[in-house]
Symmetry: C2
Subunit: 109 residues, 2 copies
Amino acid sequence: MPISTELLHGTLDALILKTLSWGPRHGYAIARWLEETTGDALQIEEGSLYPALYRMERKGWIEAEWGVSESNRKAKIHRLTRKGRAHLKAETARWAHSSAVVSSVLLPT
Amino acid sequence: MPISTELLHGTLDALILKTLSWGPRHGYAIARWLEETTGDALQIEEGSLYPALYRMERKGWIEAEWGVSESNRKAKIHRLTRKGRAHLKAETARWAHSSAVVSSVLLPT
DNA sequence: CATCATACCCAGAACTTCTAGGCACAGGAA
DNA sequence: TTCCTGTGCCTAGAAGTTCTGGGTATGATG
């Protein structure tokens, strides 16, 4: 069951940054990794992924350089910056707090 | 600390429906109730609230009729419909599932 | 050599929420 | 009375993210 798309709103950046916190990856691999680790519950559209990567690069959270993928194809490798790591930490805390608040309202105690 | 605004995306409808599941209320009271029960963590802007109420009325999840508030002012009272209750149930399940998936990625196990 | 999976990209649409206002009125204070 | 505050509803436009639905290119495989 794919995740509700709207609920991704605002968490996509953090999910990508978290993926990169395990090591540099190219965009396609980020999407694959997220799909695998969530058992296909999370499906990132490429039309969302690439704009998000550009956005975060502009903000200085990630850096990119052209390289080669595991399958020997040209690929843009993205790497988490120090600033990005700090942002991820902050966003993670926000998620923990916010989701707890929403759950406290929605879910039975 | 007010909740991250983007994270509200997609949950606002469910939060409002949940509020109405405790009984009919007018818009202003919905916002007050959510603020109170979350200790001001959740602040619903009126510019988000009223459009959301209209949206959900169009979709048949709630019904509205003019009445009088507790403080003797003219107020539009919103009531959850059967359809809305079913939608709330579905959205709640989606939230439980989706937030668990996101948490499983973001938060340390 | 045809096909598939990999890998990147974009324009425009769709949608939600926020900003920043406005209007109206009840009740109490000055 | 007049003023002010809190209550209560509403809207237009902006801002922002994600999705839809395309497109390009290339290595590997049959």
